[in-house]
Each structure stands twice: as C-alpha cells, then as structure tokens.
C-alpha cells in the first residue's frame, strides 16, 4: 500500500485483512495505518480483526443455540467460522447471516459422497437441527396473520387455506423435542434416530411447533401444493392406505384434526 492508494484500494485491502488476518502483509499495515502512543499499527488493526469473527460468531450462536449445545461451543465455533470464511455475509441484515449454514453443513460433511444409508447419524442430526433452527428463525419474523380474523368451526372447508406463516418439515431425528429440551436446560444428549414431522405456525407472535403423524404431514403437504381439502383427504387415504371414511371422520369429528388446527391458527379464511 502506498500513500496514493485510492479509497477503493484501501477498502479492498482492509476487507482482506479482516477476513484473512493471517495473510495480512505486515509491511503494508505499517505503511497504511498510524501507530498510537501505546500500540503499533499491527496491534491497532488487530482490534478489528479479532472482533470481525467474534461478533459474527456470537450472532450465529444466538441463531443456532440448540446446535451450539449439541456440538459444544468450541466445535460449533469452528464450523461457524469456516462457514463465514466460505460464505461471508453479503446482506445488510444479520437476519440473513445463517441462511446458508444448513446447506454449508450438507456440502462439507466428510461423508458427503457416501450412500445415504452409510452416512453418519451424528452428522445427519446436526444438519437436521440446523434446518429446524433456521426454519424457526425465519418463521419468527415472516409475514403472518396476526391482527386479522381467524376462521371458525362454521367456516366451510372450501374457504380454509393455510396461513402465510406456516411451515412443515420432515426430519430423521426428533429435533423439535431436542430443541425444547435445550430450551428448558434439560441438557439433552443426541436422540435415537427416529423420523419426525413437524408443522411450525406463528400465532400471536409465538412460533408453535406441532408434531405430526405421517397422514397429517401428507395432508398438509398436499394443501401446501395447492390441493383442496377434499383432494388432500383423498390423497391421504390413497397414500397411507387408510379408508377414506376414516380419514374424513378423523378430520371432521368433534375435537378432531379440523377443530384443533383451526384453533391452532393453521388456517385462514379465503
């Protein structure tokens, strides 16, 4: 760096010094940055270099507290630091910081090229957990339906549609239970592999996670894909080999699925 460096050159140089602190050229630091009465140029710049990763790692831990618990703080920070090196933030908002983290964990898993059946369970669990936490994070502040009327039991099926702040997912592990065990500081250990399905819906600004059976999940998936309730019920009957009458009964009966999910704000009225 020289005294005639342009603003653009200076900023590109500092950016590199922040993201790759070990590669920062000591001579360039001394010719660009003033020492203070107590610190040399390198020590002054190091304040920014230290805080760059620490600041963002704290944000990652805020966003993925259960994953941080599962991995342990040190290992979580190692993964998150490598993630930030691979995918530095490109957004003005910290809300986007962790958006690619689950995908990054998938891409970089050491058994990436192994058959699915041969992939390691603990890695699958970490990825599941990251996906679940990202979903919760996104649902927290997504456009929702608060402040508007909800349907009632009298609303006909034809007028029921899923509310905007609604998400369903399927996992290899019971991640929702694990997450909430972390929340209540129960110090959970990694659970046994067991497929879990969840619906996440925001009601009164709280993100509610409901555990789903396979027929429930199949039904909601069909609704998400734009099917009507009648078609989705028939799809469940066919896919899960349950008589359509039983499926319909389960949907409509007093205190049945329909009533519970209307009360849980799964639906809004068209």
């Amino acid at each position: 760096m020289s005294p005639s460096q342009t603003l653009q050159q200076t900023q590109a140089w500092i950016k590199h010094a922040l993201t790759h602190p070990l590669q920062a050229n000591q001579a360039a630091i001394a010719t660009t940055i003033n020492p203070s009465a107590r610190l040399n140029s390198n020590q002054c710049l190091a304040i920014y270099q230290r805080s760059y990763y620490l600041r963002l790692l704290k944000c990652m831990q805020e966003q993925f507290p259960a994953l941080s618990h599962a991995l342990g703080e040190d290992l979580f920070r190692d993964f998150a630091c490598e993630y930030l090196q691979t995918y530095p933030s490109q957004s003005y908002t910290l809300y986007d910081l962790g958006n690619r983290f689950p995908q990054y964990l998938k891409e970089t898993r050491p058994d990436f090229s192994a058959k699915e059946s041969e992939q390691e369970d603990w890695i699958n669990f970490m990825i599941d957990l990251a996906c679940f936490e990202l979903s919760l994070f996104l649902m927290f502040d997504a456009p929702g339906h608060e402040g508007k009327p909800l349907p009632t039991m009298e609303t006909p099926d034809e007028r029921l549609v899923l509310q905007p702040c609604f998400h369903i997912a399927e996992y290899l592990f019971p991640v929702a239970e694990y997450y909430h065990d972390v929340k209540r500081q129960a110090e959970p250990v990694m659970p046994q592999k067991e497929t879990s399905r969840v619906a996440i819906v925001r009601k009164n600004f709280l993100t509610h996670t409901s555990l789903l059976t396979l027929p429930h999940y199949t039904f909601l998936k069909a609704l998400q894909q734009g099917e009507s309730i009648a078609v989705a019920l028939a799809h469940v009957a066919h896919t899960c080999s349950i008589p359509l009458d039983d499926v319909t009964q389960s949907w409509k009966e007093p205190n049945g699925i329909r009533q519970r999910w209307i009360q849980a704000a799964f639906f809004i009225e068209l």
């Binding site: 203070s36 230290r50 704290k58 944000c59 927290f140 555990l211």
Partner: protein, 308 residues
C-alpha cells in the same frame, strides 16, 4: 435549546419490548435500529408500530455504508424509506463509515481514510441518499481503533465540509469522541471545540471498556464519569440537543437504563471542568467492540412445543 430537542431517550432494544408494551413508561423518546424493523413481518414490526403511535421515534441505521466504494444498495434504501413512511421518524441517521466492500458485509462500522477523495465520494453519496429518501440524512461519528497515514483532513473538519456541501445533519456520539480520541492520541476537548456543533441535532452516550493501551466501544456498561464531563461540554456547544443512551450488551432492566440516561440532567448545567477528564487507571481484558448480537432476536424465548 433547539426546536427539535426530543429530551432524554433510550435505544429501543427487544429485551425491553414486553416492559414497554405493558407499562408504557414515561420516557421522552426512542431510537430504533432501522435494520431490526425494515424486513420484519412479525413481532418487531408489531412493536414498532405501537411505540411509534405513542412516542417520538428516530431511525438509526448501521448498514447504509455511506462510505463504501460499492454502489449504494437501493433495495436497502427502498426498505428504509418504506419503514420511515410507516413509523414517521423525527429523523433518520446512520454512521460515517463503510460496512463492507466487494459485496461482503463485515457488520462492523469501519473507519474511513479522511482525504479529499473520500470527502467527494461521501458528499456525492449523501446527495443520492437524501434525494432518494427525500429527507436530510443525519450522520454519526463512529468509534475507531485505527487512523490512516494518508488521511489529510481532521474528523471535525471532515464533518464540517459534509454539512456545508450537503446540508446533512449530525449525531454527535460523545462516547465515540472519547474512544476515538484516546485511541488516536487526540485531545477530545479540542475535537468537540473543532466540531461543527451547530449542525448537531442529537447526541449519543454509552459505556466503554478501557484496556489501558486502547479503549473498546462496548455499549455494555454505565457511562463513565469522564464521558459525562465531556458531555457537559458538548451540551453547551451544541445548544442542548436530543440525547440518547445506547446499551447493547449485558442490557439491564428498562428502568435501570432509563435511570442511567436521566443521570444526564446534572451535566446539562455547570461549568465544564477539563480536570475531570483524567482517566482512572483501568486495565481490563478486551471484549467485543460494538456488539451486534443484540440485533438477533431470541427465537427460543418465543418458541412453543405443542403437546400431541
């Protein structure tokens, strides 16, 4: 006292949302971090709407990156403008800094080399932003840990020229003055005397961490006595402007924060005493500068598991 003096306010923090909505405390005004609300479709947006109905609010941004050599982010500016139209802030502020370049965002408030090139660059961008937002921009002096060998303009003079050329207004962060001046071996009293105080419409106060060799701007503790004394000088020279406490790490209760900013009152009068700027011998291990994790919402707190 200037017409726009809002009084003594607090930075709006999510940890205080429930307290505010429940008690509607008697406080003069709030400053909201723009980025926490501009994309919100949930709880934060619901809160800011209600608060803006009851209190004067200003928007304070951390991501405009007015000094970056990357193009201005008009998607960001559109969202900022929409938020401003919705909450009707008394003004909109950000920092004289850059946050990233070559599409990367450091989420830090990085210092600028203060040169003629930088001055012209920032002037042009302030004009663009003000034209787009259709309001004056208010710019804050950042805390900094480095200065550049090729800088040719002092920071107070830089701000003066920005104001003269763009009619932007200023947010004088008194704590940042102290931090930056200590780190750069500059006299903070002279800084305030040189600063274009006639353009200041708001001041910030915050706590910092003194590490002996340098000071870190941590916003995680009470305001230190020597910063209060510097505030007394700034209060006199700005002619009394809206003053606000920023507390971003280890945030205490709303009432404690409120009490802290009310402590400004004795410093709004009396003679400035430069001998009170003497530093006590404080040597503390460095912690994080300008924390940002307070901007990440606590999702776990708002998550509920429904029993099957």
């Amino acid at each position: 006292m200037k017409d726009t003096n809002l009084g003594l306010g607090l930075g709006l923090r999510s940890t205080h949302f429930n307290h505010i909505l429940e008690h509607w405390p008697q406080i003069d005004w709030f400053e909201a971090i723009s980025e926490n609300f501009m994309d919100s479709g949930g709880w934060p947006k619901h809160v800011i709407r209600q608060i803006a109905e009851r209190y004067p609010v200003v928007l304070h941004g951390v991501s405009m990156s007015i000094g970056s050599t990357d193009p201005l982010n008009f998607s960001y500016l559109r969202k900022l403008k929409a938020l401003a139209q919705e909450v009707n802030p008394v003004w909109v502020s950000d920092h004289l800094c850059w946050t990233g370049v070559q599409t990367m965002n450091s989420h830090d408030l990085l210092p600028m080399p203060l040169t003629e090139e930088t001055l012209q660059h920032v002037i042009a961008r302030i004009h663009q932003v003000q034209d787009f937002l259709e309001r004056p921009l208010v710019l804050e002096n950042p805390s900094s840990y480095i200065t550049f060998k090729h800088s040719t303009i002092s920071e107070p003079e830089f701000f003066r020229q920005l104001c003269n050329e763009t009619q932007c207004q200023l947010l004088l962060d008194v704590n940042n003055v102290y931090v930056s001046c200590f780190n750069a071996d500059i006299d903070p009293v002279q800084y305030i005397k040189d600063y274009p105080c006639e353009h200041v419409i708001q001041m910030h106060l915050a706590g910092h961490q003194h590490c002996g060799t340098h000071i870190i701007d941590t916003h995680d503790r009470a305001i230190l006595p020597y910063v209060w004394e510097l505030f007394r000088l700034a209060w006199q020279r700005t002619g009394a402007v809206s003053t606000l406490l920023e507390w971003d790490g280890d945030i205490p209760s709303f009432d404690e924060c409120h009490q802290e900013i009310l402590s400004a009152k004795p410093y709004m009068q009396g003679e400035f005493d430069s001998s009170k700027l003497q530093l006590p011998q404080l040597l503390q291990q460095e912690t994080l500068s300008t924390p940002v994790d307070f901007m990440v919402p606590n999702i776990m707190e708002n998550a509920v598991l429904e029993e099957p």
